[in-house]
């Protein structure tokens, strides 16, 4: 194999070898190369030391309330409508399809009964006629008579020419 340090093409292999990530066949091939290459041997040895040193670096413990704080922030950013309707979510989830189906049935029923509803309308007109009083008729006739008399008093030449 080409020397990883000279060619650079197998640099990843050399890093993986030092990290113990190579599979058996590739590892054996790298070990054969390292046996005859002091530069790669030195690099791999130093790299393994770095790897062990980094292993010693453990992170600090995470706060116990990390999740609680996160969910509080998520909740804070939710819209007022989402917060308001959240308790009703399960209800909406199940009731919405049923409500939609009921609505469709209701609209269909109304459309089928529409002609009957129109037939009822003329009844209201006859009710208006019944409320006309005899005195009102008499007044109307008197008014007509008075207008006729006025017309007779006006001379013919005063009438507008059409």
């Amino acid at each position: 194999m080409n020397c990883p340090l000279e060619s650079g093409g197998n640099a990843g292999h050399l890093l993986d070898y030092a990290a113990g990530k190579l599979k058996a066949e590739a590892r054996a091939q790298m070990e054969r190369h390292i046996a005859g290459c002091p530069a790669c041997r030195a690099f791999a040895g130093g790299q393994q030391a770095v790897w062990r040193a980094l292993d010693a670096w453990e992170p600090a413990a995470v706060s116990m309330d990390f999740d609680r704080r996160l969910y509080a922030r998520i909740d804070q950013q939710a819209s007022w409508w989402t917060r308001l309707t959240r308790p009703l979510d399960p209800l909406f989830r199940h009731a919405l399809p049923i409500g939609a189906a009921a609505g469709v049935v209701l609209v269909a029923g109304l459309l089928m009964n529409r002609p009957a509803a129109i037939a009822v309308a003329p009844v209201e007109e006859s009710a208006q006629v019944e409320t006309l009083q005899p005195e009102q008729v008499e007044h109307a006739l008197d008014d007509i008579e008075m207008l006729r008399e006025l017309n007779q008093m006006v001379p013919d030449h005063a009438a507008p020419k059409m």
Binding site: A11, V50, A53, A56, A60, L70
Partner: protein, 201 residues
């Protein structure tokens, strides 16, 4: 990370990792799937951010922002890459911004501050002597300084390679580089660390 589920999406057969499948459920309004994702990735994300910024409080604050962004992006989420690639891209972006903004003055902070919070279990002996503890602490401080002095991109690559055990191709996607560029970048980073930490061997 190897768990994979076959999913048929709109007639196109796509192979998704299990996390992406969970995220699609979050998109459909399943809050429990978000809780599973949080439980699974909380520590890796916080630990990565902690090693990047070297300040526990800042790391946790950034991790909160990472998961908040994941949650907020659920409506527009498309499983075009591995979920962890997307997750660490967000985390890396926030960490680099934080470092550039200088929000955390890590180098001004005494390194002992954070290490005081580390669990005692990291010291192998049951009752280490004061001298052993001091030597161990000095070694840790040197390691942390060596990592902190790496250029930001090299640091992110080393942390993802060493602690998250990511493949070169995935690190390349997170950092938006070619795979060969990442190998070269890692090679340089490890050489730098080797030179700085050689005396610890």
């Amino acid at each position: 990370m190897d768990e994979r589920v076959n999913t048929d999406m709109g007639g196109l057969a796509a192979t998704l990792d299990f996390d992406a499948e969970l995220m699609l459920r979050v998109k459909d309004g399943d809050g429990a799937s978000f809780a599973v994702l949080l439980e699974k990735h909380r520590l890796p994300v916080i630990h990565f951010l902690y090693r990047m910024v070297q300040n526990q409080a800042v790391a946790e604050e950034l991790a909160q922002e990472v998961f908040l962004r994941v949650y907020r992006s659920r409506e527009s989420y498309q499983p075009t890459a591995k979920f962890t690639t997307w997750l660490f891209r967000i985390a890396t972006h926030l960490a680099l911004n934080s470092l550039r903004d200088g929000k955390n003055r890590r180098l001004e902070q005494p390194l002992e501050d954070d290490s005081a919070e580390t669990p005692v279990r990291q010291v192998p002996d049951q009752r280490p002597s004061v001298e052993q503890t001091m030597v161990h602490q000095a070694r840790l401080d040197e390691i942390r300084r060596a990592v902190a002095m790496l250029p930001e991109k090299q640091r992110a690559a080393v942390l993802m390679h060493k602690y998250q055990e990511m493949e070169y191709s995935q690190i390349a996607k997170v950092l938006n580089c070619s795979e060969s560029a990442i190998k070269s970048l890692l090679f340089r980073a490890y050489e730098t660390l080797r030179a700085r930490l050689a005396h610890l061997a």
